[in-house]
Symmetry: D2
Subunit: 300 residues, 4 copies
């Protein structure tokens, strides 16, 4: 059991590679140390923004180990352990627990998605939750997986005592309302992107896992704090201010944009792994302009 | 110019047909009279729920005439005047203005949508707005048209002085935030369905055009009032309570479900026009159950 | 009953508008006369390429009248009579029959497509076929309507004695095989685009309704003749040669591209109706280049 | 270099697991031996039907080793070596070459597909082709990956001397024509499913990789032979006869259906790996009925 409940503002931190394309764990640890001293509630190792899909299994274990050791209990650590087969997902989830992760974030299997119905997802998530020493968070990332688990399936999964939350990266307000309405109060519905954090909180979300929090943790935490303080008009304005920088590090320029923004604020960074391409100079200039305009270029 | 600004809770009222399949304007006027005495801010004649796509042009004019005459200034009256060609849209919009409609709701042309780029939409809406004596509201109904005008195009359209609002029926929280951020404060962004009215208001929407308001106007207005009173927790709970009844009269059972619910509360009703099929007995029972459970079966 | 069976190479001819945006029936008749003297088997008045969606009902009747009168029995004349409501589709189909059209081409209703299941389509097409004095051809145009009637529904529709064929504009080879396998030999499965005419014929299609036949009727007929003569290798090469010009007048540049190509070969033409935009000069030059390279710029 | 050119009828054979969920290589070898004695031109180890996405990397190597050793030069052996990262794809492709595979079948990376443009795919495939001792076959499997490389990108990839073919599993006749038109004669365009093998061959495809060939190799080879003999009408009828059994082992019942059909004809089989579910009894009965009706239940 995690000592803290799931929720708050979490950063799905980036994997770091050296010029040879291999993991650079030393630089990775430096970034983790910075996040551990930030106002964030926690980090996610190997979310989609952590290039999970491009990492070997042994690399994943080294990243979890480095992150857990560095954080050393100061923040929540979620480990992305979902892969295509139930069997390998269980193996990786158990290893993450062994290494000290607080929660496992398990993306929906998707390759054979025309074959995966509600029953298949139930069996998969229940098998993983049964086998896992740490609580499971369901991860819905439709833009990458093509799978949009409906709220009714999320409700069904939430009935398992070891499935404690869901992250959904699409800003479908109706579905967020349905997920909150269809689960108990202690089940954590989490926004998967900062561009809809405020309306998600209004509907009952417990927080979010936000790529933007990788580069603007204070601004993301401030939005949550404004909401919690009941200052809705300020929260609304803060939300509108985050739209452009959030798009720059997600839908517009992706992981390459995120890594470019990391460099701008002084974090360790590097190129993403192929077939991902690095940001072009024109993209970097545009990202810089957007972050400056939003007042988010505070250096580390 | 409308004497009242665009906004608030509006009902896209149903068209009514007799057993012979022809318009029944007498029964239609009875319903309009009831809406005119309700707490609603206005009605929409010939939204999608008004079976606009199944009506002949002369039928549309008779519906507008009946609605405007019956309302007699007590509420806003919007007329759905968008059809595929710019030419016919202008003709119908002018006729609606002549008949006394306050605003024209103009759905995106869509049949040749692979050919309609931002420039084509700009020329279309500007031509209609230039030619129209009454203000234009852009209508985005992606589930039916396959067209999702991006927020950047909405911003461009909003620069025309005679284009005063947008209704979007998809509950994309990010896009609502972007539309609010990209338009002036006096431009009315409107929710197109009651299942995301609360988060839309939180983000800065001016109200909504809600099929659910056809059968539960008081509940929809109450949600808006709770929001305006700053009672966010009550508004949130009201929002969650409206999810199931809203789905029953929209995504789950469509216009047939809406007409079945109208019958349950004592409004005039009838079958939709083919190829729309009427609700089955099982669907009616399910709708009844849902409305009872939500406490929305108050009779007219 | 048509005196000739449905099949062969048919051209979905363009509507013509004058500088004032109104129909120019005189120029239209000139084009029809040219088609009537071509090797084509017939023409379609008001297919999608005939800007059916942008025409008023009375304009449609005048186009049918002009086409039937001009053709005067030399070719098959199909009239596009499908609109959204069953009621108006029947009215228009009866009028087309009265005016002398041989067949009615009835596009799938689509605005309320989330509500239209197989039963709704069956009732619609059976009602139209029951009421129509002329045989019905089902028209599937997924790119514009978002509706892809599955082969199983086509089989069901084909059981009605007055539904005699289907035009499908998507080049899904599996579905063409399924439609042929699921219907009787006298039911005409028709290719809806010249870029898959040859494989469609190989699978048992009876011909095609081809935008490219508006500007290159001889080349389209030659491909069919090569197939019928059993010269598969020549047919295959002819098919590959038609890919680029076909794309130029359909998926790449649409009706604007088609009208530009019509001008190049000397047919009467003009701008499409807004919101369709005319071809740019760059597009015209590209179309010219493509047609020259394919050897299709024979003048009228 | 493979001693035989790429082409003909190839079977993407199934992986086999014991009751404990682990690979059963002994049974796998028995099946391979049967395929090696069939009229097939070759087999694919770890196509999508070989549950590639559910296998660990070391399992993949053992399957390739077993297949190559068992086939022992009697047929072509293709190894599915595509994974998400360029780095791991190269590692696996080199290992497959080392183990004796003739070709590597490399599925499009897809997880970050909103970020993968033509340039990213070019760099990926060129890097793999540069590093690989054996020729590369591009694998487009849109139903599972959400990626549909356009014909123009296939043409660009085909210019690399070590990229020798493409398998596309969607039956888009236009795209097959475009791929043939856009590549040299010695580049092998392959059908990815038996339900459009005949039209693909008509358009110039060199053969196909067909799940149906796992359970009906003779029927698939016969269709190809009829085409090559110029007996188009018999080939067409053979194609129509294969539609239902092909759907049963692919789109309708998936890998579970394929394994059920394998059992029916006497091959070694077993359950697929979770989250794939095994076929239900009702599905098995339906598959049996379909194969009997098509005359395809010849026992091994």
């Amino acid at each position: 059991m995690a000592t803290r409940p799931l929720g708050g503002v979490l950063a799905p931190i980036a994997a770091l590679f050296g010029p040879d394309g291999e993991l650079d764990l030393e630089k990775y640890a430096k970034n983790v140390e910075w996040y551990a001293n930030s106002p964030l509630d926690g980090i996610v190792v190997m979310g989609s923004n952590g290039e999970s899909a491009l990492l070997d299994e042994d690399e994943k274990l080294r990243l979890i180990d480095t992150a857990v050791t560095t954080v050393n209990g100061r923040k929540l650590v979620l480990a992305g352990t979902g892969v295509e087969s139930t069997r390998a997902t269980i193996r990786l989830t158990r290893a993450a627990a062994e290494l000290g992760a607080d929660f496992a974030l398990v993306v929906t299997p998707h390759y054979y998605r025309p074959r995966y119905d509600a029953e298949a997802y139930k069996r998969h998530y229940y098998a993983v939750a049964d086998a896992s020493p740490i609580p499971i968070v369901v991860y819905i990332m439709t833009a990458y997986t093509g799978v949009d688990l409906p709220a009714s399936v999320v409700s069904m999964l939430a009935r398992h005592p070891n499935i404690v939350g869901v992250k959904d990266s699409a800003g479908n307000a109706v579905k967020f309302a349905e997920m909150v309405a269809g689960t108990d109060d202690d089940f954590a519905v989490l926004a998967g992107s900062a561009n809809f954090l405020y309306p998600a909180l209004c509907l009952g979300a417990k927080g979010g896992i936000l790529a933007l929090a990788d580069v603007a943790p204070a601004a993301c935490v401030e939005l949550r704090d404004l909401y919690e303080a009941g200052d809705h008009e300020a929260a609304r304005r803060a939300q509108l201010n985050l739209l452009a920088p959030n798009a720059a590090v997600t839908t517009r320029f992706g992981i390459a944009g995120l890594k470019a923004a990391m460099e701008m604020i002084g974090l360790e960074t590097g190129d993403p792994r192929p077939p991902l391409l690095p940001a072009t100079d024109a993209e970097r200039a545009e990202i810089q302009r957007i972050f400056e305009q939003a007042g988010l270029l505070a250096r580390v």
